[in-house]
Amino acid sequence: MRWENFRFALFEKAPEALLEHSMIVVITITIAILISVPLGVFLSRPKYKKFGLVTLNILNLLQAVPGIAVIALALPILGLGMKPAIVALLFQSLLPIVRNTIAGLLGVSSDVKEAASGMGMSQRRILWEVELPLAIPIILSGIRTATVYVVSIGTLASLIGAGGLGNLIMGGLSLFRPEYLLVGAGLGALMAIFLDRMINYLEYRITPPGMRVE
C-alpha cells in the first residue's frame, strides 16, 4: 500500500467515477419509478387483477437471473456504454417496486376505501387521496430495495463500458493495486449504505405516526 497511489485513486479517479455511478443510479431509479408505480397501480385495479399474477411471475423470473448475467446478455443486444447498462439494470429494478406498489395498494383496508366512497369520493380521488398516501411507505421500501440493487449491480456495469466505481475496482483487480480496490469498493459500499439509510429515514418520516410499526 502506498499513500501516493491511494491519494491518486481517491482524488483523481474517484470523483469522476462517483459522479458516473450516481448518474447511473439516479437515471435508472427515476425511469424504474416512472414505469413501475403506474404499472403497479394499474395491476392492482380489480378489473385488471388477472394480469397482475402473470406480470408478477414474469418479473419474478427476471429477478432470479443473476446481475452479471443480465449485464453480459445486454452487451450483444444493446452494445457498449451507459445506455445499455441502464436498460439492463432497469429490467431488474422493476420487480421490487411493482410488487410493493401492488402490496401497498391491496393492503389499504377496505373499510377506509368504503368510507371514502361513502363520502362521495370518485374512484380517482380515492386512489390519489386515500390509497396512494397510505401505500407510500411500502412503495418507498420497494424503491429502497431497487436502489441498493442498482448501486450493487452498477459496479458490474463498468464491464460494458458504463464507467462508474466498477472501473476503479476492476482496475485495482487487474493491476493488483489494493488502494484502488479500497477506494472503489469502499465508496460503493458507503453509497449503498447511505442511500439505504436515507430512503429508510424518508420512509419513517412519511409514515403517519399511528401507522408506524416496530
Partner: protein, 218 residues
Amino acid sequence: MTLTDFVNFLVKNSKTIMEYSENHFTLVLLAVGISLLIWVPVGLLLTKSDKWAARVLALANTIFCIPSLSMFAILVTIPMFGLGRKSALLALVLYAMMPLIRSVYDGVKNVDRNVIEAARGMGMSTKRILVEILVPLGMPIIFAGFRITVVMTTGIAAIATYIGERNLGRFIQEGLVRSNTPMMVTGALIISIIAIGLDTILGMIEKRIVPKGLRVSR
C-alpha cells in the same frame, strides 16, 4: 451470433463447462451449508432478545447493502484472505446472513403465542417447543429465506470469478475480455437457467412443505 455458434460452443467446450459448473456448485453448496450452520442457530438465539435482534439485523442489513463486487474487492485486500476460495466463501456467507437470520427470526416470532402457551400448558420443555412447535410452524417463512439465499448465492458466486474462482462466471469474464460473444452469452444463459431452475424447484418444494392451513396467497 446465431444459434449454430451457440450450439458449437456448447459441444466444443462441454468439458470446460462441466468443470466450471462443478466448481460453481461446490462453492454454492459449501457457502449455503456453512451459512445454514452459522445463521440458523444465530437466528433462533436472537428470538430470545429483542434488543440484540435489532442490533444484529441492522448489521446484517448493512452488510447486505454492500455491492458484491465491492465486498469481494475489500476481502481481497485483507492479507489473511487474498484471492481465491476463502474470500469468496466469506463474502457469500456474509451475504446469506440477512435473508437467513431475518427469515428464521420472523418465522419463529410469527408463531401464534396461544399455540406456544398451549404447548407449555401441556408440559412441553422449551427445547421440545422449539423443535416441535416453533420450527415446524415457522418453516414456511424459514424456507422462503433459504430459497432466496440459494438463488442469490448462485448469482453472486459467478462474480467471484474476478477474484480467481474458476466457475461459470469465468465464461462471462473471458467472453467480455476477448469479445467472444458466444462464450459470454453461453455463460450468462447457463447461470440464468440454473438460477431460474433452482428458484422454481425450491418454490415447488416450498409449496409442498407448507401445511395446507398455513398457505399464504402471494
